[in-house]
């Protein structure tokens, strides 16, 4: 009970602080929107190539952009946490009965809400480009997007907690985020990739999540990609929350 109560408190507090700086929300939408505007049209002519998934260029590309929004909205959250550590807020709350897991979970849920709003804006902006919408597919896809946040966010918070300085966190985050991005098929579908690359990609949970979100946007609910994506991401999310919560329970910093 304490976990839910405290998670709600931390969530509300951190969302309140984020909402006070709406610039972040806009900045988070800008990058994928620029991709949509300047990179999306390139895919139109590629979409007739053999190996390119069905559904049209934007139904393939926008799901990738959503995963990218989730990726950028979760992998860098540790930086904000370091400044919270520096202000003493984190330590102050450690000397209260607050659930340690709530410290991670509350903040992660805030991040999920933020990138989901960004994703929603992106979807609306993509309709004029030719994105077709299946309401059920979009709702399930956003649920899966939330699970991606639960995979990546806790890892970033735990790394921030253990490392404690932006200087060391930045290269480490880059080293993790870049291969995750390239091996996920976000920009170009992995169906175009050589076998060896696709084999490596299959170890990346984001790859499966991206395939599932694409299938959902195309209303292919019975595709095995959907189940694989949801189960893989769900298991990874659970593991990530458990590991991070262990780090927060043991931390002395």
């Amino acid at each position: 009970m304490r976990l839910f109560h405290d998670t709600w408190l931390v969530f509300r507090r951190s969302l309140g602080l984020t909402v006070r700086q709406p610039a972040w929300l806009i900045a988070g939408v800008m990058q994928p929107f620029v991709y949509l505007l300047l990179f999306g049209p390139l895919l139109n002519s590629l979409s007739s190539m053999p190996g390119f998934p069905t559904g049209g260029a934007f139904n393939v590309f926008v799901p990738g952009l959503l995963v990218m929004t989730a990726l950028f909205g979760s992998t860098f959250v540790g930086f904000g946490f370091i400044s919270e550590m520096r202000s003493g807020v984190v330590e102050r709350m450690r000397v209260t009965p607050m659930s340690r897991t709530a410290a991670v979970l509350g903040r992660t849920l805030r991040d999920v809400v933020v990138f989901m709003v960004q994703g929603l804006i992106l979807v609306v902006l993509a309709v004029p480009f030719g994105l077709t919408i299946n309401p059920v597919g979009v709702v399930v896809a956003f649920g899966l997007l939330g699970l991606i946040g639960l995979v990546l966010g806790p890892v970033s918070y735990a790394m921030a907690l253990l490392i404690g300085s932006e200087d060391a966190l930045a290269p480490l985050t880059q080293a993790i985020a870049l291969p995750l991005l390239l091996l996920s098929g976000i920009m170009l579908p992995m169906s175009l990739a050589p076998d060896w690359l696709r084999t490596i990609a299959s170890f990346n949970p984001l790859y499966h999540a991206t395939l599932a979100i694409r299938a959902l946007f195309n209303a292919q609910f019975s595709s095995p990609d959907v189940a694989t994506g949801i189960v893989t991401t769900g298991v990874c999310a659970l593991a990530s929350v458990l590991v991070a919560s262990r780090a927060f329970n043991r931390a002395t910093a």
Binding site: L9, R13, R20, V89, E91, R92, P97
Partner: protein, 318 residues
């Protein structure tokens, strides 16, 4: 017998892969309820480490610590319910309002929304933050922010409040104000355990003091007790260059109990300062040395500190 709110025995804490760094090396402390207890020490002496162990932020490597009657290693969650902790860095978010931080703290301690708003209103009034309560704490002055930190520590009415360097960086007026707040806490029955770099603060505010150095308590008692233990008077000689020579020369004199040299000043601990002063002059003259300054003092806490740690607290202040 008065109730003890802090009681440690052989408290130890080591760091490093092979536990080779001993930050706290067997600390025995007894703090009585209802007092203001000052904890002094140079940087790196183990002061902060001890404080963090007592506040459940760091588990001890050895020994025991009971805080408010509960073992900190066995049941830290219970200790957290009964203590308030104010870190040196403070603990409020610059974007949050003071009232918002107080309400959040109340909620974390299990108060309902209404109860924590009520408690926040009480504290905002008590710590004279009513006008600023709804502004972001980033707009507060240093003194206001510090008062808010203490108010946050008091939300759940703890019996014991830890204050880490409560007045560092405050202007004299804000410092005096903070002293009043700390005394008021004692009047309402809260025990205050504070660390400080300012000996005048320790002297003016604290009922009892402990000095820690190299991870051990080197002196403990009331201010007057500690000063009496240094005994006699202190003669200081300001000298250029030949300080160590003068120290050795003086240490050899029968009327000098102890001589030390630090920061360009030789300090002599003597039983009778008035009688010692002319002797000192004559010896310096005989050796062809001319002091820049010569002074006689009754021992201050700084002398106690210097005597016990070999360092002046002022120079070790961060």
């Amino acid at each position: 017998m008065t109730e003890l709110v802090i009681e440690t025995a052989g408290l130890r804490r080591t760091f490093g892969k092979k536990d080779e760094i001993e930050a706290v090396a067997g600390v025995d402390l007894r703090v009585e309820a209802g007092s203001i207890f000052g904890f002094l020490g140079p940087n790196g002496a183990g002061k902060t480490t001890t404080l963090r162990i007592l506040a459940t932020l760091l588990p001890p490597s050895g020994g025991t610590a009971r805080v408010m009657g509960t073992d900190v290693a066995r049941d830290p969650a219970d200790v957290r319910q009964r203590i308030g902790y104010v870190a040196q860095s403070g603990g409020s978010d610059a974007r949050m309002s003071g009232r918002g931080e107080l309400v959040m703290q109340g909620r974390l301690f299990g108060l309902s929304g209404a109860a924590s708003h009520e408690r926040a209103a009480e504290l905002v009034a008590a710590f004279d933050l009513a006008d600023a309560g709804d502004r972001p704490t980033g707009t507060y002055s240093g003194g206001m922010r510090r008062r808010l930190d203490v108010a946050i520590g008091m939300v759940h009415r703890p019996g014991l409040l830890f204050l880490d360097e409560p007045t560092t960086g405050l202007d004299p007026q804000a410092r005096a104000r903070m002293w009043d707040e700390v005394r008021r806490l004692r009047e309402t029955g809260t025990t205050v355990f504070l660390t400080t770099h300012y000996l005048d603060e320790a002297d003016a505010l604290c009922d009892r003091l402990a000095i820690i150095d190299h991870g051990r308590i080197v002196a403990e008692g009331t201010g007057p007790e500690l000063k009496r233990a240094v005994a006699g008077d202190v003669i200081t000689i300001g000298i250029d260059g030949n300080g160590e020579l003068v120290r050795r020369l003086m240490a050899a004199q029968p009327f000098v109990r102890e001589a030390g040299f630090a920061d360009g000043t030789v300090r002599l601990y003597v039983d009778d300062g008035e009688a010692g002063l002319p002797l000192v002059l004559r010896i310096l003259d005989g050796a062809g040395l001319a002091p820049q300054a010569l002074a006689l003092h009754r021992p201050s806490l700084d002398d106690v500190f210097l005597r016990q740690t070999g360092r002046s607290l002022r120079d070790t202040a961060a």
